[in-house]
Amino acid sequence: MMNTSGRTRMIAYRLLQAIPAIIGIVIVSFILTRALPGDPAAYFAGPAASSESIEQIRRTMGLDQPLPVQFLAYVKDLVTGDLGHSISTGQPVLTELGARLPASLELTGFALLFSMAVALPLGILAASRPNSWVDHLCRFVVTAGVSLPVFFTGLALVYLFYYLLGWAPSPMGRIDILYLSPPKITGFYVIDSLLAGDLETARAALAQLILPAITLGLFTLAPIARMTRAAMIQILEGEFVRTARAAGLSRRSMLYTYALRNAILPVITTLGMVFSFTLGANVLVEKVFAWPGIGSWAVEALVVSDYAAVQGFVLAMALLFVTINLVIDILYTLIDPRLGMES
C-alpha cells in the first residue's frame, strides 16, 4: 500500500532480468539444432534421399546461409510458434506439445501438492522438536529422498500397490480404457470430469494419478523438508520468537502465525531449484507410468531420432522453467513482509 510503486519497480526489474536468460536459451537451442550428428539436411531428407534432394532440403531449410542469417530465421520461426514438424507423426511440434502439456502439468501439480502437504509439516515439526523422532524421521527422509532414483521408486510402488496389493490400477496412462476421457475444459482429467459432474471418471482418473504423483512427490519432498527445517530452526532462535513466547502466545499461534510466515520465504526461493529437478524427474516418471505427457513423448521421439521433437521439448521445458522462476520471484516480492517497510 505504502510502497506499491517500489514493488512494481522490483517486479518490472525482475521481468527484465528474464530477458538474458531467454536469449541464452534460444542460442543454446539453436546450437543444439545445428549440432545434429552428421548433416542435418541429410538427416531430414531421410536415409533414401539422393544428393540433389539433400541439396534441395539444405536450401529450403536455409542451411546454405551463413550462421547469423540462419539464427535470425530460427528466431523468426520461434516467434511465430514454428518449432518444426515431428518426423514420426508429421504434426507441428507446437501442436503436439500443446496437446500433451496438460497431462504433464496435472502430474507435476499434484506431485507438488503432495510433497508440500508432507514436507512443510515434517520440516516444521522437526525444527520445533530437535532430536525427537520427528527430527530423525525428517533427516532420514531428506537423505533417502535425494538418493532414490525416481524411476526406481516408481517401479517399487507399482510392484507393491499394483502387483502385490492390487490397490492401484495398471500403470498405463491417465485413465483406464474402460472409461472415456472427460470433455476437455482445462485438460486436467480429474478437474474436467468433476466439472462434468462425472464422479466415477474423476475417481478413475485420480486412481491413475496417485502413484505417479506420489513418486514424483517423494523426490521433491526432500529439498523442501530440509529447507523448511533449516529456515524454521533459524527463525525460532530469533529474538521476536522469544518475545512472543514471553508475552504468553500459545505455541501453536507462535509456530504457525509468526515463525512459519518468515520461514516460508527461503523455502519459496529453493522452489526454483526444486522445479529444475522436478521437470527432469517428470520425464522419468512419465516413462515408468506410460503417462502421456510431454516427457514420455520426448523419450519416444529420442528412440526414433525425431530431433525436431526433442529440441522443441527442451526449448519448451526451458521456457517453462524460466516462467516458473519468474512467478516464484514475483510471489516472493509480493509476500515478503520486509519489503515495503524499508522506505
Binding site: 549440432a35 535425494v146 524411476f151 517401479l155 502387483y163 520425464v283 520426448a298 529420442l302 529440441q311 526451458a318
Partner: protein
C-alpha cells in the same frame, strides 16, 4: 594480518602438525559418527567392485541361456536371472565400473573446467567474469536433466556424450563456488604478501588462492558424484548412451521395468538398489567430508 599469513601459508613444521591434526580429526570424525565410517566402508566396496568386478562375478554377465530365464533368486543365482537367463548378480557387479567411470569422469571434467573458469572470473573480474557468469546462468536456466537429454540427442547417442552432457550440467556448481571462494580472498593479506614478494597473477591464483578453494570443493565433488550417477543412470533408463547388452544399472532397471507388472521383481530391484546405495554412499561421504574440512558447519 600476521595470523592469516601464518595459517594460510604454512611452513614445513606447521604442515606436519597440521597433518597430524588432520589425521586425529579424521579419527575423531570416523569414531564420532559411525555413519561416516559406514560410508567410507561402502565406498571401498564400490571401488573394489569397480576395479575387480569382472573377476569377482560368479557368472559371465553376457552369457545367455533360455533354459534358466527369469528364475527368482536362488543359491546359485543370488539375484536371480533375467529374461535371457543372464545372471543378475554378475551383471550388477560388472556394471559398477561403467557407472562409476561415467560419473567420475564427468565430475572430474566439470571440476577442472568449472573451477578454472570460476577462479579466473573471481580473480580478474571484468569481461571474463561477465561472460562466465552469463554462460553459467544460461546452463542453469534449463532444467538440468532435460538439457542433458537435449545435448545427448543433438551430439549423438553415445556413452562419451553422456559423459560430456553430465559434465556440462555439473559445471555451474564448480564455477560459481570457485568464483565466490576466490573473490572473497582476492585482496586478503596473504595474497597481498605474495604479490609484494613478486609473484605474478597466475602464480598467485594457482598456488595461493586455488588450494584454498579445494576443501569446500571436495565436499561438492562427493555430493555431485551421487547426483552424476543418478543423472547418467536416468539417461540410460530412457534409452540414451548405453546400449544393451552392456551391463549398466540404469538400463538394467529399464529392462526389468517390463517385468514388474508380471511380478518378476528381482530384475529391476537389485540394479536399482545398487544405484541407490552408490548415491547414498556418496551423499553420506559428502556429509562426512564436510565435517572433516569444515567443522563449523557440522549438523
Amino acid at each position: 594480518m600476521r595470523a592469516t599469513t601464518a595459517t594460510q601459508v604454512p611452513n614445513t613444521a606447521a604442515k606436519t602438525t597440521a597433518f597430524g591434526r588432520f589425521v586425529r580429526h579424521l579419527g575423531y570424525v570416523m569414531t564420532e559418527n559411525p555413519v561416516t565410517a559406514l560410508a567410507f566402508g561402502l565406498f571401498l566396496i564400490f571401488v573394489i567392485a569397480a576395479i575387480f568386478g569382472p573377476w569377482l562375478s560368479p557368472h559371465d554377465p553376457l552369457a545367455t541361456l533360455s533354459a534358466r530365464a527369469l528364475q527368482p533368486p536362488s543359491w546359485d543365482h543370488w539375484f536371480g536371472t533375467d529374461q535371457l537367463g543372464r545372471d543378475v548378480f554378475s551383471r550388477v557387479i560388472v556394471a559398477t565400473r561403467l557407472d562409476l567411470m561415467i560419473a567420475v569422469t564427468a565430475v572430474a571434467m566439470a571440476f577442472v573446467v568449472g573451477s578454472a573458469l570460476g577462479a579466473i572470473a573471481g580473480y580478474f573480474g571484468g569481461w571474463w567474469d561477465r561472460i562466465t557468469g552469463r554462460l553459467v546462468d544460461t546452463i542453469m536456466a534449463f532444467p538440468l536433466f532435460v538439457l542433458a537429454m537435449g545435448i545427448v540427442a543433438a551430439a549423438g547417442n553415445t556413452i562419451d556424450n553422456i559423459v560430456y552432457a553430465t559434465a556440462i550440467i555439473n559445471l555451474p556448481f564448480y564455477a560459481r563456488m570457485a568464483r565466490a571462494e576466490v573473490n572473497i580472498r582476492r585482496n586478503s593479506g596473504f595474497v597481498q604478501a605474495a604479490r609484494l614478494s613478486g609473484n605474478g597473477d597466475w602464480r598467485i591464483l594457482a598456488f595461493q588462492l586455488f588450494p584454498n578453494v579445494l576443501p569446500p570443493m571436495m565436499v561438492q565433488i562427493s555430493l555431485n558424484l551421487g547426483w552424476a550417477i543418478l543423472n547418467a543412470a536416468g539417461l540410460s533408463f530412457i534409452g540414451l548412451g548405453v546400449r544393451p547388452p552392456t551391463p549398466e544399472w540404469g538400463i538394467m532397471v529399464a529392462e526389468g521395468a517390463n517385468f514388474i507388472v508380471s511380478g518378476e521383481w528381482w530384475l529391476a530391484l537389485f540394479p536399482g538398489l545398487a544405484l541407490m546405495l552408490a548415491v547414498f554412499t556418496f551423499n553420506l561421504l559428502g556429509d562426512g567430508l564436510r565435517d572433516l574440512v569444515d567443522p563449523l558447519r557440522r549438523t
